[in-house]
Amino acid sequence: MNYTNQIQEIATKLFAEGKIDVFVGYRQNLFDENQVPCLVTDPADISKLVFTEKSVFNLSNYLKFEHTRNKRVGLVVKGCDSRALNLMLTESQVKRENVYIVGICCEGVLNEKGEKAQNCVECVMPDAVVYDELLGSPTGKREYLVNADIKELAQKGLTERADYFENVFENCIRCNACRHSCPLCYCAKCCIDQETSSLFHGANTSSSAMHALMTWTLHLAGRCVDCRNCEKACPSHLPLHLLHKQNEMVIYENFQQHLAGMEKDDRGAFYKYSMSDPDDFIM
């Protein structure tokens, strides 16, 4: 998978036609063979843009920051990224006319070990769902797979799971990198930072981390698109995807196979309901 040339051409064209102020893509990292996001504002830098199976990050995230707000942006999105973008559009965080979307029919990106990333193996929608221009040939929606790690963990007993997650929460340092890296965490003021809500007072302890992470996860339930930006950003390498995928699975299985951001104007599972939703868990 290599769309470097096409993307450079598109960027050049867009700048030439004055359609955009900034182009958000990937560039080679200077120190290793990994790639980093790259915001091009000067056509001269277009040559830096690349796209290969190392282009892992979800660039939709960059639409929530000051330097792209109300600018006309060119943006490269893979399947998962585009679903996040879809939600941002629906939740009116981005004006459609302000973004020129270069959609990719993704063949899956590589993890640091150089093998196909788990979320790409389990990907339900590799092609961009919203775009102005689509690169590659669409392969369409795929069958939903339950996350391998969850399956494994589910086999374990309650106690083991509790121990496992206690350890996870122990290692959280409450740096909130996960939140900043998530395209769907755009709140003007995050509830986690609100003293007034007296929600998360107390020192950085496993319990306060647990509370913060739980709340964060539930705020993304039915919206998370499994791009795993949060996990890549997490300095203590917490398996955050476990929490998200767990919710995704429950929602997919119980609420008409709902998947976040697949359709335009779909607002996620918690903002609609069906009379026939499961009721057996309620006395």
């Binding site: 929490l243 919710n247 699975m249 006395m283």
Partner: protein, 162 residues
């Protein structure tokens, strides 16, 4: 002691629990969050009809089950409660037309998530109790209390600094 419980269509956990020992003198605290129009009225009816139930539940009144934010549950479990009961109007009877339908979705996901990270599924329970179901409310509280007593005190993820 307990058999396997189904956590979701695809995952099954065995629910053995270290906390299960005899706690003769110990009394659990159960946080009950009830909607004003059906369940709270129902609990009042339980009172006026003098139906007896275990004294472990502490009741919080909210206008509608849809007011219940998942963190009410988490907060309770982390601080004062050994278990949580949330009760609202029966589907279709919501005083606010559709509130409990939205709530129901959040409840399911929250319950499964908490179970996933290691809470026994009986720690958090839900019920629909109408304003006329005084007896049912007593039964529900009975069941929840017995379940929680079986599970014993909750130590996991408790807030250390209170």
């Amino acid at each position: 002691m307990e058999t396997d419980v189904k956590v979701s269509n695809t995952q099954v956990v065995s629910a053995e629990n270290p906390d299960i020992q005899a706690h003769a003198d110990w009394q659990p605290v159960i946080m009950g969050i009830l909607c004003n129009w059906c369940s709270y009225a129902g609990s009042d009816l339980t009172g006026t009809s003098r139906i007896q139930y275990p004294p472990n539940i502490r009741i919080i009144r909210v206008p509608c089950s849809s007011r219940v934010d998942p963190w009410f549950i988490i907060k309770s479990l982390q601080t004062t409660a050994d278990g949580v009961l949330i009760s609202g109007c029966h589907p279709g009877d919501c005083h606010y037309i559709s509130g409990n339908y939205f709530a129901r979705r959040r409840f399911l996901v929250t319950k499964k998530l908490l179970n996933f990270i290691g809470y026994h599924e009986n720690r958090v329970q839900f019920s629909w109790v109408s304003a006329a179901e005084g007896p049912k409310f007593a039964k529900v509280v009975d069941k929840v209390t017995t379940d929680i007593k079986k599970l014993g005190p909750l130590h996991r993820f408790k807030k250390e600094n209170l």
